[in-house]
């Protein structure tokens, strides 16, 4: 369980600890590392693992439950909901799009032309795929 939710929270990061936890959990579900029906670690356990206030983790759990990503079974724990992978894949795509928009904005500010931006993107993609081949 712990290895499936293997992430750290960086309090100096751009996003709040609760956003970082929610985003890591959505990514774990979108990638299939956490499947529907799987039980999540307890709020207190995860709070200790990632060193974040338990109330903050509890709030993330409640928000994700409201969004239909998690479902709590009283007395049993909190589980990944049946429809979660679809929801999380959509949320991850949205988040990636926003990050890309932000990156493009920064690139424009730095003076890169649209063609150069596209070239950067293709180069990065080529680097990743060759790294994946070398890494196996």
């Amino acid at each position: 369980m712990r290895s499936k939710l293997d992430f750290t929270v960086d309090p100096k990061g751009d996003r709040s600890p609760s956003e970082q936890i929610a985003s890591a959990l959505r990514l774990a579900i979108a990638s299939g590392a956490l499947a529907p029906g799987e039980r999540l670690p307890s709020v207190r356990q995860l709070a200790l693992d990632v060193l974040v206030n338990p109330n903050t983790v509890g709030k993330v759990w409640r928000d994700l439950e409201r969004d239909g990503v998690l479902e709590s079974r009283p007395g049993d724990g909190v589980f990944v909901a049946a429809g979660a992978p679809t929801l999380c894949r959509a949320a991850c795509r949205r988040e990636l799009r926003l990050r890309l928009d932000e990156w493009i904005r920064d690139a424009r500010r730095a003076g890169l032309e649209p063609d150069e931006i596209a070239e950067q993107f293709l180069r990065a993609k080529a680097r990743r795929s060759s790294a994946a081949r070398v890494g196996g």
Binding site: V9, P11, K12, D14, R15, S16, P17, S18, E19, R44, A47, L48, L51, V52, N53, P54, N55, T56, K59
Partner: protein, 244 residues
């Protein structure tokens, strides 16, 4: 909010030093189960408020209740259920850290030796050296063990991260978060280390000009920040508003 869940209830608290009013008709409530970051500029009276709450300083005016008790009149009963780690504390320099903890333990009927051992291991704190030989960080950790080993319902920490390296700050955060394993335990922490506060706290109280200017969930402070997120941005934003 029922008064039973109220860990701290302060009404009209004033504290004056010579002719300077440090706390001025301050109202403050803390509910059970939260970790509240008490923030504000240097010298604004954060440590003074903590000292009033543990009964180390008598208020000039106002009513103070901690766990439903008066920290001055019921001092011993309050301190038995409260853990306090001041930013500076006097320890007999020639005693060993272990002897000093044994001395502190005598004042607490609920002192848990197993918890003391667990905390020392977690914080990587050796108890054999004399207090005089301890580094600044080790001394701070010793203060934290002394404040936590009797498993208090209400924990007050004054600058627990100050002067510590990254590993020690993580260990302190881990000790505080681990302390919350029992529901209903409440923490009030004074610190300037915003990143550490964003980890351990879920509420923020801003002390300004002798009063609690704002007291809210950590997340709502973040939303009000100028950059959209981050307690630091929110606090800087609040400062600029009050200056202009």
């Amino acid at each position: 909010m029922s008064s039973a869940a109220s860990v701290v209830s302060v009404r009209g608290l004033s504290v004056k030093f010579a002719r300077r009013t440090v706390l001025d008709k301050l109202d403050f409530e803390l509910v059970s189960g939260s970790v509240t970051a008490l923030v504000g500029d240097n010298g604004v009276g954060k440590s003074t408020l903590l000292r009033v709450l543990v009964g180390a300083l008598a208020p000039d005016e106002g009513s103070v209740r901690v766990l439903g008790l008066d920290p001055i009149r019921d001092g011993a009963r309050v301190r038995a259920r409260v853990g306090y780690c001041p930013d500076r504390f006097e320890v007999a320099e020639r005693t060993t850290a272990r002897d000093w903890l044994e001395f502190v333990a005598r004042f607490y009927p609920t002192w848990n030796l197993a918890e003391q051992r667990r905390l020392c291991e977690l914080l990587d704190l050796e108890l054999t050296p004399r207090v005089a030989e301890l580094s600044k960080g080790a001394r701070a950790k010793l203060g934290l063990v002394a404040a936590l080993a009797h498993e208090p319902e209400f924990l007050l920490l004054d600058e627990p991260f100050s002067g510590l390296d990254v590993a020690a700050r993580r260990a302190v955060a881990s000790a505080v978060i681990g302390h919350l394993r029992e529901a209903g335990r409440t923490v009030l922490v004074v610190s300037h280390s915003v990143a550490d506060l964003e980890r351990v706290a879920d509420r923020v109280a801003l002390l300004e000009a002798g009063r609690i200017e704002r007291h809210d969930e950590l997340e709502s402070f973040a939303v009000h920040g100028r950059r959209g997120v981050g307690l630091e941005a929110a606090l800087l934003g609040a400062k600029q508003e009050s200056c202009s």
